[in-house]
């Protein structure tokens, strides 16, 4: 990280002036251990399809895609202050762009994923200036309205199934890039091989998004973003272009969210406007993950998604009750543990695995 020196007045000990006395630090010894552990974990996860059951792989696709969405919402709303309740718009757009690419343009599904992200980003770029006219909390509902409008527009496309949706037949996906290689490598049937391929794509996205956000928040741009949220006027006065940084963040998050949507619906192979633009599935769960885990930390969404996964296993069969429990839990956490489970633990034991805060320490 950048080392900034501050000129100190000559002290009694006649310290040599050249050596910086104070240092801005971000990393800790624990964070370097965590980085190594993270690399090992990703390697294990990448090798997992060789011996894990298909059920576990499908569960992990859910965990990884939700984690990615949670990280993206966390950077947008937590650090950026753009509290969007309309992120389902970009999941849906990515999913619909994927289906349009496969069905209408005959694209390879894997190649269509980045294009789906691009499509979501373009729509975000158009909507952004409009929604940014709504101050703070009103932006939240405004983004929700935009998502609803996009849902209704997608339902108008009869060639993509209209209001009832459509499926892609397995035969259309059988020629997908990489599928034959995975089949040969692991000796799987096409349907199972598609799950593995989607799993790897989900893992790749989760790792890239998490690393990207981590690097961004540790860079000076991340500092500028946090400053824009905390006090826009003060941030502008020191040269931060608050409007631009938020707009770029909004578009980048939409791009990645669109790709997640495409990956999720590549596995489902069936789409409908109500499911792809579902506020419960793509925004409520995501918000609960971040709130329960801990807002404004890299670790929070990871902890949150694991807790959610545990709750799903025990409570998902109860449907509505599951959401009542989750919602109540999120409210209680917001009231009594506003930093979330991870935030509270990190504060209690003074530990940070992926630190983004800067602190000033004496240089060694």
């Amino acid at each position: 990280m950048s080392v900034e020196s501050i000129d100190m007045p000559a002290s009694r000990e006649q310290r040599t002036v050249e050596a910086p006395v104070w240092q801005v630090r971000v990393g800790t010894r624990l964070s370097r251990v965590a980085a190594v552990a993270g690399i090992v974990l990703v390697a294990v996860l990448a090798a997992l399809p060789a011996f894990a059951s298909r059920n576990l792989i499908q569960d992990l696709i859910f965990v990884l895609t939700m984690l990615t969405l949670a990280q993206l919402w966390n950077v947008l709303a937590g650090w950026g202050g753009l509290v969007s309740v309309g992120q389902q718009a970009f999941v849906g757009l990515g999913a619909y762009a994927l289906f349009a690419g496969i069905v209408m343009a005959g694209l390879d599904p894997v190649a269509a994923i980045p294009l789906a992200g691009l499509f979501a980003a373009v729509i975000a770029a158009v909507l952004g200036p409009l929604l940014f006219r709504l101050e703070g909390p009103y932006f939240a509902i405004g983004s929700w309205v935009a998502a609803e409008a996009l849902r209704l527009i997608c339902a108008q496309f009869k060639s993509l199934g209209g209001g009832t949706g459509m499926s892609i037949s397995p035969s259309e996906l059988s020629q997908m890039f990489g599928l034959k290689a995975v089949q040969a490598l692991l000796g799987l049937r096409p349907a199972a091989a598609r799950d593995v391929l989607v799993y790897w794509l989900a893992l790749l996205l989760a790792v890239l998004v998490t690393l990207g956000i981590y690097a961004f928040m540790r860079s000076r741009h991340g500092l500028a973003l946090a400053a824009s949220r905390d006090n826009a006027a003060a941030a502008r006065s020191v040269g931060v272009r608050t409007g631009r940084i938020r707009h770029v963040l909004w578009i980048a998050v939409a791009f990645a969210t669109g790709m997640v949507g495409a990956v999720v619906y590549l596995q489902k192979a069936r789409i409908s406007p109500d499911a792809a633009f579902s506020v419960t599935d793509w925004t409520a769960y995501v918000i609960f993950i971040v709130v329960i885990g801990g807002v404004r930390t890299i670790e929070g969404p990871m902890v949150g998604v694991l807790l959610l996964w545990g709750l799903v296993t025990y409570l998902a069969q109860y449907g509505s009750l599951y959401l009542v429990v989750l919602g109540t839990l999120a409210i209680l956490i917001m009231l009594f543990m506003p930093r979330g489970v991870w935030g509270a633990a990190a504060r209690r034991w003074q530990m940070q695995l992926f630190p983004t805060q800067r602190w000033l320490g004496r240089s060694r």
């Binding site: 709303a77 937590g78 709504l134 509902i141 929700w144 935009a146 609803e148 918000i287 807002v295 509505s320």
Partner: protein, 288 residues
């Protein structure tokens, strides 16, 4: 006459949307709180009235009065126990808490009442109509909705500008710290504001529940309509909110006349168009 009918229908629909919007507008104006559970609280009120009429066998008017009292107390308690703790400079906590509340209420209603469509029974009132001019008759229920909306705005304006409570509301909205120095109990003012917002929502729920059937899943859409009415009309003006509701109702009625699938979409697009052309709304309050 078909075009004229559509306009009448849109204006009357606007009355309902204005009623949805008043409660939202009220607490945003006073305490800068955006209540994402507003739509679901309207639905909760509708189910309360439904239960009071069916389980307790009360007439609709008595059931509504009972629900007004219950929802006022609920709002007061909600503010004191929950919302008060998260109000502050950071906009994230209140949004997340009200969003959580929205999910809890919606799914709680689903558990309690099931997913079936319900309707409030108002007897002959539902289907009767009045003739305003030769060849022009409108349903009594939709007309009552608009009249109720106008009455509600008038009443709220009177409370705001003619009573000491209204003075406390306005003072707290302008500067809570100084209002408190002048002897205004900020905590009570906020709690009464939320209670009043939910009480108004009962009126919205009854008027809506007579006109159309409802089920637990439609709360968020009510929130969005309410919000659109507030923004189209312009922040900080109750009459503007009424006008915004009518513009939204007109947009939906006209869109629905062209193609039934476009009804809701036309409303959303009108909202986005207003945001593009007049970001401060069509009838903003004259304030700096």
């Amino acid at each position: 006459m078909s075009g004229f009918d559509t306009i009448i229908e849109g204006v009357l629909l606007g009355g309902v949307y204005a009623l949805f919007a008043l409660g939202l507008s009220l607490i945003f104006g006073i305490m800068r709180l955006v209540n994402l559970a507003h739509g679901d609280l309207i639905l909760l009120a509708a189910y309360l009235v439904l239960s009071a009429t069916t389980a307790l066998g009360l007439p609709l008017a008595a059931a509504s009065l009972l629900a007004v009292a219950v929802m006022f107390v609920l709002g007061f308690v909600l503010q004191r126990l929950v919302l008060e703790r998260v109000l502050g400079d950071d906009i994230l906590p209140p949004l997340l808490v009200t969003f959580g509340l929205s999910i809890v209420i919606q799914n709680g209603l689903l558990l309690g009442y099931g997913a079936d469509s319900r309707r409030l029974q108002a007897g002959a009132f539902e289907s009767s109509s009045v003739t305003l001019a030769p060849g022009l008759s409108v349903g009594l229920a939709p007309l009552t909705a608009l009249v109720t909306a106008i009455a509600a705005v008038t009443l709220l304006q009177l409370i705001f500008y003619r009573t000491s409570l209204g003075r406390a509301f306005r003072a707290t909205a302008d500067n809570p710290a100084i209002a408190q120095l002048m002897g205004v109990n900020e905590r009570n003012v906020y709690a009464i504001a939320v209670g009043l917002s939910l009480a108004v929502s009962v009126i919205a729920a009854v008027v809506f529940g007579i006109r159309a059937s409802f089920d637990p899943s439609i709360g968020p859409a009510r929130l969005l309509y309410a919000f659109e009415a507030v923004i189209i009309g312009g922040l900080g003006s109750l009459w503007g909110t009424l006008a915004g509701g009518i513009v939204l109702g007109l947009a939906q009625a006209i869109g629905g006349r062209i193609n039934p699938e476009w009804q809701i979409l036309a409303g959303h697009l009108t909202f986005l168009a207003v945001l593009m052309v007049r970001p401060r709304g069509l009838f903003p309050a004259r304030r700096t």
